[in-house]
């Protein structure tokens, strides 16, 4: 069957596909005159915005890899620096709130860069009229999350804007961490043959938030996976020298990370749908909403690219930690097709997994 298909596909279709690949590799151009919600969704529109505006304006070798954290040489030591802003709605949701999210998000961006997170800053933009009791709860969550992650919030900033100019409370955190000598993680390091792992079930956070907004009249027993990954990562890096890259699968989900790997390392990534851990509640909700868990945000899950010979060991180390108990090997890095992620569906077919343009839009029927 497959053989027939290879012959029948036709040169014409191949030519079109080659043309598309060339078009995809062109420097992205920002066409919109105004920012739309798609620019914030972590997909193609976000990438285009970053490359066309920010990378263009700030271009330097430290920024250019567009990793989760920049690696800097400071007085002979290697330091990782990162920043992240949090605008989640609702502010409080099952499994956490904007406070622990703001700490864990930045801690995780440092951890997946191979750094030991040390110090955080916290900036607050508060809307006139915001309840002090809520702010107190948020600050307490931040304190607890920082304690769990072993970091200290050492500087900060507060601004208040008029009612209607913000949605209650926005938080920005920045963080620095120390990178041990010899650690060099990056998605560009992925090589054909490497295995791809996830540290646990995917999509919990995104589905929790969608349901917590209360617009869907769907209830499910699911909560955000927000958690600090520093300890899990430290254990993994200590035991498995063959870890090539780590990413936390936040906005855009695991699919976006895999595409970033394929594009940065000029490789293919091939995954198996039935190997990807997804909770039944998350799958069920995603089915109902017509969205794919692969694109749904996690806040306490990482994707790891590991040398094939050490993948089993990496899996064992991840599973030995409570945050990695359901870790799985979901696929591998391939030489071809360059720049593309492909998936073997549970049904037995194959298809590609592309970046989304913006937020996954629910289908109408």
């Amino acid at each position: 069957m497959t053989q027939q298909r290879v012959l029948s596909t036709g040169d014409r279709e191949q030519q079109v596909l080659d043309r598309i690949e060339r078009a995809r590799r062109r420097r992205p151009k920002l066409r919109e005159e105004r920012i739309t919600m798609s620019h914030g969704a972590g997909g193609k529109a976000t990438h285009t915005l970053i490359e066309a505006i920010f990378l263009d304006a700030f271009r330097n070798p430290l920024l250019e890899p567009l990793e989760d954290a920049a690696r800097l040489q400071v007085g002979g030591a290697t330091v990782a620096l990162t920043t992240d802003s949090f605008v989640v709605s609702p502010l409080f949701f099952p499994g956490g709130n904007i406070g622990d999210l703001a700490v864990n998000g930045t801690v995780n961006d440092l951890a997946v860069a191979g750094a030991t997170p040390l110090y955080l800053s916290a900036g607050f933009i508060l809307e006139e009229g915001f309840p002090v009791a809520d702010l107190t709860r948020i600050a307490a969550s931040m304190r607890d999350a920082a304690a769990t992650a072993g970091v200290a919030v050492v500087t900060g900033d507060t601004k208040v804007v008029e009612k209607g100019k913000a949605d209650g409370c926005y938080i920005n955190t920045a963080g620095v961490g120390a990178v041990a000598a010899g650690v060099d993680l990056g998605v560009a390091n992925a090589r054909p043959g490497d295995k791809v792992l996830v540290s646990g079930p995917i999509g919990d956070h995104g589905v929790t938030i969608m349901l917590a907004r209360g617009e869907l009249d769907i209830e499910a027993d699911v909560e955000s996976d927000t958690a600090p990954l520093a300890e899990l990562v430290a254990g993994l890096l200590g035991a498995v020298p063959g870890v090539r890259a780590l990413r936390d699968a936040t906005r855009g989900g695991v699919a976006t990370i895999l595409n970033e790997i394929a594009q940065a390392a000029d490789v293919g990534v091939f995954i198996s749908e039935s190997a990807i851990p997804v909770r039944d509640q998350v799958r069920g909700a995603a089915e109902l909403l017509g969205i794919d868990p692969l694109y749904v945000a996690c806040e306490g899950r990482l994707v790891a690219v590991v040398d094939a010979g050490q993948a089993a060991q990496a899996l064992a180390v991840l599973r030995a930690h409570p945050l990695g108990a359901q870790a799985a090997i979901i696929g591998e890095v391939t030489a071809e097709p360059v720049g593309l992620v492909t998936i073997k569906t549970a049904f037995g077919g194959t298809r590609i997994v592309d970046l989304l343009v913006g937020d996954p839009l629910p289908r109408i029927c």
């Binding site: 497959t2 193609k44 590609i352």
Partner: protein
């Protein structure tokens, strides 16, 4: 997960694929159209074409609700949404459909308030919560979604909600299928009938296809095994020289449809004399508008709708794709000028659109698939 996984069983798929292959007559080509965009999405999302012999080609039909909305109606909707104090509600699919001056997302960036809803009923909640605003629901879709619009209007009247209206763009599937059957440039062997539409209209309306045009129809469900089984049923009919309407989706589709839903549509809406379809042009009696008795819920009467007509962009071949004359990748602008980021045609917008489905999922020739998969797939 129960109720889903049993319809995605690879073992059963292999068995069905073998039976389909067994029905192929040497030298004969089979062109089957899946009418519904939901089927197109399933076919690509699960990689279903991997199971089909080379001689069986799936042609993607016009049943993608947002794909058939002409640009002029998008412009009209944005015009409506720009009126003072209007909140427009819309299904998510619609948000990125390009009009001549951008899509709803772009309009929002310029200041309109177009909100995404999952059900038209959510529009009533918004109307109640914002009594000083006028809420307009952008109603689109085939007979699948028309009943929920109708129920929303009936409820709005029952609850005395005055600040709600409908911009009605509902279309009906049968005239579109007839237009395709009458189109001279297409030869089809059979139809995979739209499952969701049929839950409302039943299977009878397709009988003219089987008796009048001699083409078999199998109404199908939306899981990959449903579609594979309906392809098998079509191939069996062709093999046995039959042309009948069969119902593969009997677990959901009653033969006579849903009388309550049909009554709600009939109570609130009536056929328009004609309506413009993206790519297909004007088709008579192919769309619905609010009945006069519900004029107070008809946004087209409450507001001055300009009734914009915008010619499709010259390069766009959505019409040929919707009729199944062209495969998505055969369109001149596919994947280069027209991509999901910068769609020229509607087929590139909705995940149900043939072009978007092909671009997002199917843009993969078999020889590029890693060796390991090819071996596994060649098993049957």
């Amino acid at each position: 997960m129960r109720f889903v996984d049993e319809f995605r069983d690879a073992e059963k798929a292999h068995a069905l694929a073998a039976r389909i292959a067994g029905l192929c007559e040497p030298g004969r080509q089979y062109k089957l159209m899946e009418v519904c965009g939901g089927h197109t999405h399933t076919i690509y999302k699960h990689g279903l074409e991997d199971y089909l012999p080379e001689s069986v080609t799936l042609v993607h039909g016009p049943g993608c609700p947002v794909c058939v909305i002409p640009m002029g109606r998008v412009d009209d909707a944005i015009h409506l949404a720009s009126e003072p104090d209007v909140i427009m509600t819309s299904f998510g699919d619609m948000m990125r459909v390009p009009g001549s001056n951008g899509a709803f997302f772009d309009a929002n960036a310029r200041g309109t308030n177009i909100k995404m809803v999952y059900s038209p009923l959510d529009s009533l909640k918004i109307a109640k919560a914002n009594p000083d605003k006028r809420v307009v629901f952008m109603a689109i879709g085939f007979e699948t979604t028309a009943p929920s619009t109708a129920m929303t209007v009936l409820r709005a009247r029952a609850q005395g909600i005055k600040n709600f209206s409908v911009f009605c763009n509902h279309v009906t599937i049968i005239p579109a299928i007839k237009a395709i059957l009458d189109s001279p440039d297409l030869r089809l062997d059979g139809f995979i009938g739209p499952g969701h539409v049929s839950t409302v209209i039943g299977c009878r309306p397709y009988e003219f296809i089987a008796s009048g045009y001699g083409k078999p129809v199998v109404v199908a469900g939306f899981e990959p095994l449903d579609i594979l089984q309906s392809i098998y049923m079509l191939m069996l009919q062709l093999h046995e020289d039959r042309s009948e309407v069969e119902n593969q989706y009997a677990r959901v589709v009653p033969w006579n449809g849903n009388p309550v839903a049909l009554k709600a549509i009939g109570e609130t809406m009536e056929l328009r004399p004609y309506f413009e379809w993206r790519g297909l042009g004007f088709i008579s009696h192919s769309a619905l508008k609010m009945r006069e008795a519900y004029a107070d819920f008809d946004a087209e009467l409450l507001f001055a709708v300009p009734g914009v007509r915008v010619a499709d962009p010259k390069a766009c071949q959505c019409g040929e794709v919707l009729k199944g004359v062209l495969k998505p990748w055969e369109c001149k602008v596919f994947g280069t000028a027209c991509t999901p980021e910068t769609p020229i045609g509607t087929c590139m917008v909705s995940p149900e659109g043939a072009c978007a489905a092909y671009y997002n999922y199917g843009r993969l020739t078999r020889q590029r698939v890693p060796e390991a998969i090819s071996i596994e797939l060649s098993r049957p």
